[in-house]
Amino acid sequence: MSTSLANAPLEIRAIGLPLERIEGRAKVTGTAPYAYEQTVADPLYLHPVQATIARGKIASIDSAAAKALPGVVAIITHENAPRLASDKDKELWVLQSDAVGFRGQFIGAVIAQTPEVARQAASLVRVTYAEQPHEAELRADRSDLYAPKQVNPDYPTDTDEGDVEAALKAAAVTIDQTYSTPWENNNPMEPHTTVATWGDGKLTLYDSTQGAHSVRTMLAPLFGLKPEQMRVIAPHVGGGFGSKGTPHAHDVLAGLAAQAVPGRPVKLALTRQQMFSLAGYRTPTIQHFRLGADREGRLTAIVHEVIEQTSRIKEFAEQTAVPTRLLYASPNRRTSHRLAALDVPVPSWMRAPGETPGVCGNEMAMDELAVACGLDPIELRIRNDPPVDPESGKPWSGRNLVGCLREGARRFGWDQRDPAPRSRERDGWLVGLGVASSTYPRYAMPGSVASIRYGADRRYAVRIGAADIGTGTWTALTQIAADALGCPVEAIRMEIGDTDQPNATVEGGSSGITSWGTTIVAAARAFRAEHGDAPREGAEASAGMPENPDEKRFAMHSFGAQFAEVRVNVDTGEIRVPRMLGVFSVGRIINPRTARSQFIGGMTMGLSMALHEESVMDPRFGHVVTQDRRAPADARRAGPALEPDGFARDRRDRHCRRGGGDRQRRLARHRNPRAPPADHAGQGPVLSANTATRSSVIGRLRAARPASDNS
């Protein structure tokens, strides 16, 4: 395929339309099959046995009473479980040794005819331990903090430009603050589920995952299988938020159990409580910020030093300080990450790892600097907006954070803000307005392949093993395929979520639509080049994701501005958030309906994080004691109500554009047609959440959410 053809712009027809989700009817009737709901014949049910110590060795396991229970089919422990091929990933090294690395770790499993019997039998397994002292508390004064080799996914651990100490000494204004963010659990609504069948040397998983192929890539070698001996199926996924981005121990446990009862499907759905120790989570962070600025608020030094935790059995280093490398301009800048390796569950990706806690720290520090300089917080951010990427020196493919801040300020009624604390009181409520920047990198992951086949039904079957975790993949890829093939959306039959389809990269890092979309465009071009506009039945072509030469020349990131009106009750301290507004510069919107839901979802999760979410670890025992859904639940109390009316203000970003994966800078502007609150008469919120938070939880604002997708 020639480069000119590969880069020719698409004729945009379906892209940009607010199409209804093509799997929507199945979802509102509850008939879209999630992993547990797939039809399998004669299943067995698995209930895990979990460690009740945080560190040590299993001394003995007595499963006689469990085995004696009618209906129990098999019990597996490290003493009899099938062997795995590699211990490189200790999280996935399930039932292979007597070692316990954290409380809640799998140490056995009961497989039974019914879920009730499996659960009862699991409670009858008697375990004794040789317990060792454990450590489960993250503190900044630990002496064993260490620098990881790199932070997730492959960023340098530390950076140091210029001379921050000299700059801080010379600065007219300085800020020195430490912020902490809590342990947070992803808690997708659908629990992590695997239905595994082992038969004829083949392993089949119905799995709740953000990447069918990535599960296979990681697990097939572990089970000693060739890729073609393993199939993973996941057409519908009930949310992930990163926790289903990589297989966790339950996938392995289900596979081992299936091996123990060949031919019978084994169903495992984690309980909500088990998800707190077995499905990843966001590390708590302790962030030390030092800022130096001149009298006009121009930054001369930024220091962001992060302390966070990983598990002793497997390292995960959240990239908390990475966004600090690009958010604002400063000639002197130092960022660092230090980890404490603790006897705790394995942390992992949670919605925008790094950006979520890191931008939160940045934005609190900037607000403190604004106060110290006597500057409006928006003006301070505008003064420090870097013209090029501070770290690489590359030009932005499109930044437009200043535009988002200005447009948001206008729509939110920022000019009515009084910066003096406690200056506005309405009926016993103190009213304040706040702003924060958002950012998220533009990732595209190489490796996807799409195939297109023209069928007897005169439709194009477009196949790629992509995932839809609520992000709208089914619909958005259909729109891209339609424009890429130059046909109506009705002529596309999208097929995703199965390793029998061509390889797709994971739904993670907001990379899905960019990676898969561009791949589909390449496949469509290959198809037309080979078969023309009037293909014969059965005509087929496929292609992999093409390279984007602009990736090397430009710094590519999304940006956004978040606004919130917060009310605090003078007497009770109760917090309410009646209005939120987000203005985003995020590239081409494939489907405004689903994109809007992504924005609202992200803002709502940010609200929930800020006011409600904290998984409380009891360091004496090493486990999360708040193992329920109340935290995310309370976002309901923050149940926002907003009415957007579309996207506007197009500003094309040619450099991020590649076929259907185009990224065209836009401001997402939404207008609330309903009467705005009296003190903001005439001001329509943009992409806003008019939240009526009736929170009984009193918390401090801890997390600002960057714009990203659902992973």
Binding site: T29, Y36, M189, T271, T604, A633
Partner: protein, 172 residues
């Protein structure tokens, strides 16, 4: 201990033998293959398992199947009439009142049950006038739907969908 019971699910009488510990949710999902109600928490906190149980919304994970012998159950699947969607389902589609869809059947059953409660004059925690008819303001909708969680954060759109149906029925 096992028990033989009959459930009328989405218009069909189904007889089954359940462990007396089996929840109504597991009876529907594991025994009858009625997968429309979802299991989000299994302990009454999320509302994903909500159905209309003898005409009223109920979280089936908190009910023992054996205690509901003879019950009539309508799931979100049963709310639809073949290809014809219930107006609440239509409104959820129109307003994109979901993302992953896992909380959705429970939200929809709950919303349908909630509108009937309001119609019948049941007050809620935020109802000001306990004597007159219930007016379903957004505050009322949020309060009355507070047992149904959505981790995808579709609340804005869920409220919009329910508001639209309530308006059509004249209760908002």
């Amino acid at each position: 201990m096992d028990a033989r019971i009959t459930l009328h699910v989405d218009g069909v009488a189904r007889s089954l033998t359940v462990d007396t510990r089996t929840s109504l949710l597991d009876a529907l999902r594991d025994h009858l293959g009625a997968m429309s109600p979802k299991k989000g928490c299994d302990h009454g906190q999320c509302g994903a398992c909500t159905v209309l149980l003898d005409g009223r919304r109920a979280t089936t994970c908190l009910a023992f199947a054996v205690a509901h012998d003879g019950a009539t159950i309508i799931t979100a699947q049963g709310l639809a009439n073949g290809d014809g969607l219930h107006e609440m389902q239509r409104a959820f589609l129109d307003h994109d009142g979901f993302q992953c869809g896992y909380c959705t059947p429970g939200q929809i059953c709950s919303a349908v049950g909630m509108l009937e409660e309001a119609e019948a004059g049941h007050p809620s925690h935020v109802t000001q006038d306990l004597t007159g008819p219930v007016v379903l303001t957004d505050d009322e909708i949020r309060e009355r739907m507070s047992g149904n969680l959505c981790r995808c954060g579709a609340y804005v759109n869920i409220v919009a969908a329910i508001r639209e149906v309530a308006r059509k029925e004249g209760s908002a």
